[in-house]
């Protein structure tokens, strides 16, 4: 895979720039999805995806074959998303703030145990509404947590790949993922507890 990408890049650098189309075809979906998951905005995702490809294309001569092209491309996407996030005026509170002000979410389990109805909760966990709630939660995550969770659990990057893309040590990545999961879990519990 990597060799194929590098070969295409070499072709481009030799003047056959139309070969870049192959890279677009190969990665556009993944790039778009990462941007979409991180910005929750289809229009913005399209812009970011385009910009990422263009940026990479303009710096093609600086590509270091020691690293995977995909990592470089996705890192560009990720940085653009983070920039966008930081530049946006945030009116909505982030998940951390919402959860701190919420009551203890263990209420959900205590209720289920007391009612003697863990199956009821299980059933709700199997329903489609779960994914909707989770999407909402992901959207509310602070960008640093959102990026790692999206990459790990939605795009199925390995920890190593995430570390490459975000240029952060693995330890940091893991810590962020753990925190992100915890936040999402609390959010989920809170929402499920609201439905009686």
């Amino acid at each position: 895979m990597e060799n194929e990408d590098y070969r295409i890049i070499k072709l481009c650098l030799k003047g056959k720039t139309e070969a870049f189309a192959k890279l677009v075809e190969k990665y556009s979906r993944r790039v778009y999805n990462l941007a979409y998951r991180m910005t929750s905005n289809a229009e913005k995702s399209k812009d970011i995806a385009q910009e990422a490809f263009l940026k990479v294309y303009r710096s093609l001569d600086k590509y270091d074959p020691k690293h995977k092209f995909s990592s470089w491309l996705l890192k560009t996407v990720s940085n653009l998303c983070i920039d966008y996030h930081r530049s946006k005026a945030h009116q909505t509170a982030s998940l951390e703030v919402i959860l701190e002000s919420r009551a203890e979410s263990s209420v959900l389990y205590d209720e289920a145990m007391r009612r003697g109805d863990p199956q009821g909760l299980e059933a709700r966990l199997e329903s489609k509404e779960l994914q909707t709630i989770i999407r909402e939660g992901i959207e509310l995550l602070p960008i640093d947590y959102k990026s790692v969770v999206v990459m790990r659990h939605i795009q199925n990057f390995s920890y190593k790949e995430i570390s490459d893309v975000l240029n952060l040590p693995m330890g940091t990545i893991k810590a962020r993922i753990h925190r992100a999961r915890k936040l999402l879990k609390q959010f989920l519990e809170g929402r499920l507890a609201d439905f009686r």
Binding site: K14, A21, S28, R29, L54, D61, M113, H153, I154, R181
Partner: protein, 427 residues
């Protein structure tokens, strides 16, 4: 392990970073503590739900628009090409030119063709060869995985298929052995090994952390490789745990393969209680239901969507097979009376098709290896289908057509399923 440390272990368990000892403790605690179990289930479901989220498509024309933009973009390295080939030998130049030519040819073709299209496969003639295939991915039962890993001696063993649970009559035939022997707990199966269950038997198998299978009564399963199993008779539920890990299940009558989705594949052999049921209830069409996506409400935790097939006894021609798609898309190729297969088509969600001589169905493009020898088909009991439908809460299917009941000629010989008839006799 107490509740606090249990909760603290959630992350490590999901990331498979707990030692076997800690895993065992963890799972034991979950067994004993209903509250922690509940909490862990929520956590687990949350992760799974994310892993199953669909990818969004970029807006239409995105690629083309981008390529156009790029074509019009000037860059520093275009204006000042890096001196890659200055001073290179002529030989190198020739090589690279040839390579470019070949590559561009490919690229040209690619651009002209545009997006993906269905390939029309040449008809594959039927062969009588027995080819084991089939792999499922099954949803992992954490408890079983832990127990298995606890006892796995080596890294290599961990990559094998382990028996984690069995009830009733379950026997194994190791590759090269001449006799079936009763299984023992945590026995491991490698390539070529077979396992079978009696009428009262059932078994749970796992590639720890990857795939889980539930083998139903009166089934025979053969291990081919890490991602291929063959179901010679009966029914197996399979769930793929990890997205992207492909598994295919092959039965002599059809192939179902899936990538990170859930389904079950069923084959019924001639003889035994199934035949009796058929004689009483009457024969109906067999249906292949291929479903992907979330667990359906009401299905067992480790259960799956199902794919059913039926077997046709030798000589019976007018039995219908129906493929009904409930989610996503399915590629199907129907078998022609000549024994070859017609071109494959895509069935989108909600669509179905009925064929007379059998079908191959898969939720990605069919490949040559998916076309198998058509060996036996049996008329199928409609009541089993009803039960399955109820448990899965599937939308109501069209009323199946009725055909004549099949009379098996014998319980051994060409019509019988290997391994199946012996269980029947000893019952």
């Amino acid at each position: 392990m107490n509740c606090d440390s249990c909760r603290e272990s959630f992350d490590d368990f999901i990331d498979r970073e707990l030692s076997s000892a800690r895993q065992a403790e963890f799972l034991r605690h979950l067994e004993e503590c209903a509250r922690c179990k509940l909490e862990f289930n929520l956590f687990n479901r949350m992760i799974e739900s994310m892993e199953r989220m669909d990818e969004a498509d970029p807006p239409p024309g995105f690629n083309d628009e981008l390529v156009r933009q790029i074509a019009g973009t000037r860059t520093e390295w275009i204006d000042n090409p890096p001196g890659l080939f200055l001073g290179r030998s002529l030989a190198f130049w020739s090589w690279s030119v040839a390579f470019c030519g070949a590559f561009l040819l490919f690229l040209g073709t690619f651009v002209l063709d545009g997006g993906a299209q269905q390939a029309n496969l040449p008809p594959v003639p039927m062969s009588a060869e027995d080819k084991p295939v089939l792999a499922f991915q099954d949803e992992m039962n954490r408890e079983e995985v832990s127990r298995v890993l606890q006892n796995a001696k080596t890294e290599e063993e961990q990559a094998r298929l382990f028996l984690v649970r069995h009830e009733g009559r379950v026997e194994i035939l190791k590759l090269g052995a001449s006799e079936w022997t009763p299984v023992e707990q945590r026995i491991s199966m490698g390539f070529g090994d077979r396992i079978r269950t009696g009428e009262d038997g059932s078994a749970g198998l796992e590639f720890p952390g990857e795939v889980a299978l539930r083998i139903k009564p009166a089934s025979v399963l053969q291990v081919v490789s890490e991602s291929e199993l063959r179901l010679n008779a009966g029914e197996t539920w399979v769930m793929v745990r990890r997205k992207g890990r492909a598994f295919s299940v092959e039965t002599p009558n059809a192939v179902a393969s899936v990538r990170g989705t859930k389904y079950s594949v069923e084959t019924r052999g001639v003889g035994g209680v199934y035949h009796d049921a058929l004689r009483q209830e009457g024969a109906t069409v067999a249906q292949i239901l291929i479903q992907s996506g979330d667990l359906v409400h009401g299905a067992p935790r480790a259960g799956l969507a199902l794919a059913r097939r039926f077997w046709k006894a030798p000589g019976l021609e007018d039995v219908l097979t129906k493929v009904q798609v409930y989610e996503s898309s399915v590629w199907v190729a129907s078998r022609l009376p000549s024994g070859e297969f017609g071109p494959q088509q895509v069935l989108p969600e909600g669509f179905g098709t009925e064929v007379a001589h059998g079908v191959v169905a898969k939720n990605t493009l069919l490949e040559e290896r998916d076309f198998l020898a058509w060996r036996r088909v049996m008329v199928y009991d409609g009541s089993i289908l009803e039960k399955a439908r109820a448990s899965l809460q599937l939308p109501s299917l069209t009323r199946p057509a009725t055909v004549d009941v099949v009379e098996p000629t014998s319980t051994s010989g060409p019509g019988a399923i290997e391994g199946f008839e012996d269980i029947q006799k000893t019952h």
